[in-house]
Each structure stands twice: as structure tokens, then as C-alpha cells.
Symmetry: C2
Subunit: 259 residues, 2 copies
């Protein structure tokens, strides 16, 4: 593990629910020596990737991230170009909608809109990272990856999040077949209790999965009419975002998913 990799990995310990972290905590969580973490964090701080709370000297993510993200968005407006589509989804569905990006072996939250239509709604955390096997978004991606990559992603232990999480590799693979035919993945409380998730994949210009869009609703509001409606909303949105990002739907049965 290179030094750069270590430094960057430290940033992953910050989240919406843990926005500030102290030196010792960070060292413990990352499993690095305190002196190492200090030096790495100092490097990160010098470049503005983190900054320190002046009174507590805890670290938080820094303004350089905003600056660089702004540059990326201005020349490669992924988030901005999908926003209106997400907005429309949110209004049409009256539920929380989310746009995820496929990372190395996880999904990362790029954007989401929590519905205003209901007081009880699914809450999301900005920039959250979730594993592939337990969420509708994850399954949507897994279903359309090259077969090899799918197996690779499912090669480790499948973590259990709820009583209904599929932790059996075979069961997941089986489910993926249905998703492939359907174009949409659905999970009833597989990632979080009480949440019903639905999502469809987004494709790159080479026809590879790059992310997903989906809807997350309290399972109590899920019923057949709404499910139908949601499916069409999601399918439409996925197509629109794929197109907005310059992607193309892969030809049926290509992309390594067959046999």
C-alpha cells in the first residue's frame, strides 16, 4: 500500500454522520501509526483536502475538494446534467430518488432528492458508499456487468444488513437473471429495514454499467399500482441519464452477461 493510497484512504473515514475526526481515532480506524496519520493529514491539510477545527483540532474535509469538484463538474457536468431528470423522478414518484456511481467494488452516492410529498420518507446520506449485493442499485449494476466482474464483486463474504439481505452467492446470481430480463432491480428491505428499493442501470459510451438511478420508499407505501408506476419512471430516467451522459444501451445479450 503506497503512501498516497494511505493518505487518500484516510479521507474515507469522513462521512455525513462523522464529519469531524480526531487524530487518534483516525489512526485507530485506519490501523496506521499515529505519527504516520499525523504526517499524512498534515500533507492533506497543506493542500486543503482537510482542515482542522481551530478549537478542537479535529479534522474535517477541506475546501480543495470543492474547488476540484467544481472544475470537474464545469467540464464534465455529470451531476448537473442528471439533476433535472432526478427532479422529475422525485416529483412524479413522490419518493426519495437517488443517483449512484459505480466505483471499484461499491456504489457511491452522487446525488439524491428526498421527497417532500411525505413526512415519512427514506433518508439518505451525502456521499454514502454502499456494497453491491444488498441494494437494488447494486443489483442493477451487478446484473449488467461483465460476468467476470460480477463474480469478482461477489467473491468475498456478503455482509448481512437486515434479516432479508441475500448473503448467499447463488441466490444473488439467481436474482440477477430476473434483473437482466427486467432491466430493473427490486429489493424489499435487503439493505435497510423498512425500505423498498428499485433501481435501473446507467451505461457508458462503451455500453458498460457506470451507475444507477433508483427510488427508495417505505415498504408500507409499496403496492402493485405504485410499483408499476415506479418502474416506468425509473426506466425512463435511466434511459435519459444514459443519453445525457453520452452513453448507449448495450445490445441485448451482449456485455458478457449471456452464458
Amino acid at each position: 500500500m503506497g503512501t498516497v493510497d494511505k493518505a487518500l484512504s484516510l479521507l474515507d473515514y469522513f462521512s455525513e454522520s462523522r464529519p469531524e475526526v480526531g487524530l487518534s481515532d483516525l489512526a485507530r480506524m485506519a490501523g496506521f501509526d499515529k505519527a504516520t496519520v499525523l504526517r499524512l493529514m498534515t500533507s492533506l491539510a497543506d493542500r486543503g483536502f482537510v482542515e482542522q477545527n481551530v478549537t478542537t483540532s479535529k479534522y474535517r474535509l477541506g475546501p480543495a475538494l470543492l474547488r476540484l469538484a467544481n472544475i470537474r463538474e464545469s467540464t464534465f457536468p455529470q451531476k448537473a446534467s442528471a439533476r433535472p431528470i432526478l427532479q422529475r423522478m422525485s416529483e412524479e414518484s413522490g419518493e426519495t430518488v437517488h443517483l449512484m456511481l459505480l466505483g471499484k467494488d461499491s456504489l457511491e452516492t452522487l446525488d439524491f432528492i428526498e421527497t417532500k410529498a411525505h413526512a415519512m420518507r427514506v433518508h439518505m446520506d451525502a456521499g454514502e458508499r454502499i456494497s453491491l449485493h444488498a441494494s437494488a442499485s447494486g443489483l442493477a449494476c451487478l446484473a449488467f456487468m461483465p460476468e467476470k466482474q460480477t463474480h469478482q464483486a461477489l467473491s468475498g463474504e456478503l455482509e448481512r444488513f437486515t434479516p432479508r439481505t441475500l448473503t448467499d452467492r447463488a441466490a444473488v446470481l439467481d436474482l440477477l437473471k430476473a434483473v437482466r430480463q427486467d432491466g430493473i432491480a427490486e429489493i424489499d428491505q435487503g439493505f435497510e429495514d423498512g425500505v423498498f428499493g428499485m433501481a435501473a442501470p446507467i451505461f457508458s459510451s462503451h455500453g458498460a454499467v457506470t451507475g444507477s438511478v433508483g427510488i427508495a420508499t417505505p415498504f408500507t407505501r409499496m403496492n402493485e399500482p405504485f410499483r408499476k408506476k415506479a418502474r416506468s419512471i425509473i426506466q425512463q430516467a435511466a434511459n435519459d441519464i444514459t443519453r445525457a451522459w453520452g452513453g448507449i444501451e448495450p445490445q441485448a445479450d451482449i456485455g458478457g452477461t449471456a452464458a
Copy 2:
């Protein structure tokens, strides 16, 4: 120069006007060996801080920056909380407005709005970094820094951007006196030909300068009535943002600026 610092410094070669850079170019610009740059970029790419254009294999800024920026904004909504104020400035002034953050020895563009009121307007680049001595924003900051820091920031060669750029240390220091009394810095085409800039400082909770807000107008539209109006708009906005960010205006004559 540590390895982490080197890796992070590579990200600074990406900008709105140069969104994609190749390996050799990067090595040349940074003055590092090609093999070194490759390894650093590979580390950055593994973590999603950059990604490669599949067809050209040039690098561009990656989605991890968005993710982390989102987390920061969601828990520390600097940009979002200033947005409405910037919006109001834009509408009231009919000119391009900008919000800058004070970095190590430069200002970094956090946000801006180009006016829709005029076809001829001042254009800005997302995430641009500008030096302190030549812009109104920079002078606004310099004027309210601790004296030592001001001198430090002006210790190097002062780059000339236009015929009217102040490159004489003494002249800048002199101008800062006026800015201190005024609370607003003004520069007629000191950073870019044809652009008249005005800006006021923003303060942190400890009364230290952390950034600036300002207006940039084609100098041909600048006249005494508009100048008056702009001054009040800027002053109001600076106060509002300082407050929105939990900052306080420093007491007069404190902050090391006296004597």
C-alpha cells in the same frame, strides 16, 4: 516534498480550460519523472480522484472529488449557504459576482454567477486560483490579514497581468490602507484588461479573513452611480456571508492591521 504532496499537486494542473492532461504533459509541467507521475496518477485513479479517458488515456479529475465535496457541503454548507446571497447580488447588480476562499497564498474560486443582464459580461472559470496582489478580492483579503501574513504574501515577485497591475510592493501596501478604511477594495483592470473589480472581505468566527465576495464588471459600465450602488451591495453581501458562516467582523484596528 513528500510523496503525498506531489500526488496532490498534480491535481492542480487540471482546470476548466485544461480539463484533460496526458501523462507526459503532466510530467513536464510538474517537473517529475514520467515513471513517478505514472505511479502517482495510478494511485489517484485507484481512489477515483482522477480517471482516464478510455480512448485517449488522458487523465481528468475523478468522481471521488464530487463524493467528498458532497459530504463536506452537507455538513459544512459553505457554498450552499452563500448561494442565495450571491444570487441576490447578481440580481441587484446585474453583473458577474464571485465568492472566493483564501488559501495558502492565493484565492480560490468557490462559486460565482455570471450575470444574465448583459450580453457582454465578465467570464469566470470554475475553481480558478488567482494571486492576491492583482485582484480586488485579493486586496480585500490582504488588507485585513495579520500584518505579518500580508508581508509574507507580498514577499515574492509580484506578477504583472495587465499594464495597470500594481507590481510595486510599496504601492500595494499603500493601497491597502485605503481598503482598510473603506472596507472594500477596487481595482481598475489590474488583473484583466477591461475588467473593473470590487470586493469585500469575509471573516471567520475568530475574526480572521477567510475569503471575499465581489463584483466584476466591464470597466465601460463602471461609473459613479453604479459604483455607489455596487459598494452597498457588496458590503451587505460580505456581512451576510460572514454571518451565515458563523463569522464575526473584527473590531476596528484589531487584527494586526494597525501600526
